[in-house]
């Protein structure tokens, strides 16, 4: 059974990656969103780089959070509509493992690209040089937390058609600690402080999410898809 538990994970991971690959154009959208909204900010605020530098870390993090939030909505939506979710619920494997596979695929297709492209935005928003490494580390860890927590919200709202914005209400409060420690990591580094403590807290949040979120999402899915 050990084998089959794992196979639940990797099978769904591979499947979701294939699906994302099939819709490359669309899978790239969170990224596009991230970049485009970040270009809106100078338009809405100010083009002066000194003032942009002050808000850069916060803005990059807020936009990464939004991009993840918006894409996490689709995690189960199409599976629900075409009946795949029903099939998932009756696989012999324990539900959390396939879910973890799906969430990992989600992170690989949104959080990871966001992290990799963030230095570009750092340049556009004049982020000071000391902030780049902490930004990469904190985004990598933080977006993983966001995908995991978001999955619980997505599972809770999946059977409500078009529940995307309700989802924001549910998970946004849960996202706030991640945002706080994420920006703190970057800002500490920019201010010349030791940025490892906030990063360590992010790591702890991540560990807790990995342990709890797939379970909660599994419970929520069994519940909501049963009506």
């Amino acid at each position: 059974m050990a084998h089959s538990i794992n196979s639940g994970f990797s099978a769904w991971l591979r499947r979701d990656l294939l699906l994302a690959y099939r819709r490359r154009g669309e899978a790239a959208s969170p990224l596009v969103f991230f970049v485009m909204v970040s270009t809106l900010i100078p338009l809405g605020l100010t083009p002066e780089s000194a003032r942009l530098a002050e808000v850069a870390a916060g803005m990059i993090w807020v936009m990464a959070l939004l991009a993840t939030l918006l894409s996490v909505e689709g995690l189960f939506a199409s599976d629900y509509q075409d009946g795949s979710l029903e099939q998932l619920l009756i696989t012999p494997q324990l539900l959390p493992m396939p879910l973890l596979g799906k969430i990992t695929a989600h992170w690989l297709t949104t959080g990871l690209p966001l992290t990799l492209v963030s230095p570009l935005l750092g340049v556009m928003l004049s982020l000071p040089a000391a902030g780049y490494l902490p930004m990469l580390c904190s985004l990598a860890l933080g977006t993983a937390c966001l995908s995991l927590t978001g999955a619980v919200g997505a599972a809770l709202t999946v059977s409500l058609r078009k529940g995307g914005l309700l989802l924001s209400l549910l998970v946004m409060p849960l996202y706030m600690p991640v945002l706080i420690f994420g920006t703190a990591t970057v800002n500490f580094a920019v201010d010349g402080l030791n940025w490892l403590p906030p990063l360590a807290i992010l790591g702890a949040l991540f560990a807790a999410s990995v342990a709890l979120c797939p379970l909660a999402a599994a419970g929520a899915l069994r519940l909501t898809s049963a009506n």
Binding site: V152, L160, L174, I180, A216, N227
Partner: protein, 258 residues
């Protein structure tokens, strides 16, 4: 045998019928405590040296803030009990607790904001406690929205319970992180008047008001739960019997009077 009380407690019917008996007494006590606390606080207690009369807002603000927080834990506990012991009644309590908690959170925010104007010169600042309170309001609204979104009462209550549980894990994290965030940025200008140094003449009415708010919370929760019980059990025979006996009683009364 020892489980009998537990079973009974879980029965909506039992709750509906017995709560009808305590409710008048509880309401009376609430009214007395709240009114006396309000009069004491607003009219009798001395003025604050620094803030003058605007200080009297504390008699609403602090009890409301207390209950707003406590209410979340009450709601989440009810949800957890429902999930674990599959108790219908506690789901109904959970659903009822959400709007009450949200309303109290709103009161805390509103009174605090109004209070801010004379003391800080602005309605809103991003203080740690204020921010956490706002997030708490969102958590409440999330549970409520989920309840309304599902048409099946069963699914709605379980989904709400799961969200409540996730929220309970998160609330301490949120509070700690917001607190930490604020200490990073803390501008020195803004400070709460500190509670412990309060004069007993000011403190005693506050205590009365806190008790009054707890009582009020209980009354409101029972009222909401009763109507929720009716909503979910309206097809059952005991509700129908209830109505029949009521009609019977009315008819008897009329017959007796004439």
């Amino acid at each position: 045998m020892s489980w009998q009380w537990f079973h009974r407690l879980g029965s909506p019917r039992w709750f509906y019928q017995s709560s009808a008996r305590w409710l008048p007494w509880l309401s009376l006590a609430t009214a007395v405590v709240l009114l006396s606390g309000l009069i004491w606080g607003l009219a009798i207690a001395p003025e604050d040296a620094k803030q003058g009369n605007s200080f009297r807002i504390i008699y609403i603000h602090v009890p409301a803030s207390f209950l707003a927080l406590a209410g979340y834990y009450i709601m989440a506990t009810a949800g957890a009990v429902g999930l674990i012991w599959k108790m219908k009644l506690s789901y109904m309590v959970m659903k009822s607790a959400a709007p009450i908690g949200a309303a109290l959170t709103f009161i805390a925010l509103f009174t605090g904001a109004i209070w801010g104007k004379p003391t800080w010169g602005t309605y809103w600042v991003w203080d740690a406690r204020i921010t956490s309170m706002l997030i708490l309001l969102f958590l409440y609204l999330g549970v409520m929205a989920l309840q309304y979104a599902y048409h099946s009462a069963d699914v709605a209550s379980k989904a709400g319970a799961i969200l409540g549980l996730v929220g309970t894990v998160n609330i301490p994290i949120i509070y700690k992180s917001v607190d930490w965030w604020y200490t990073l940025h803390q501008p020195a200008t803004i400070k709460f008047t500190s509670a412990p140094s309060m004069h007993p003449d000011m403190f005693q009415p506050l205590l009365v008001m806190i008790i009054g708010f707890y009582l009020f919370y209980a009354v409101a929760l029972i009222l909401h739960t009763r109507s929720e019980i009716l909503r979910r059990e309206r097809k059952t025979s005991w509700v129908r019997d209830l109505l029949n006996t009521k009609k019977q009683a009315k008819a008897d009364k009329q017959a007796g009077e004439s």
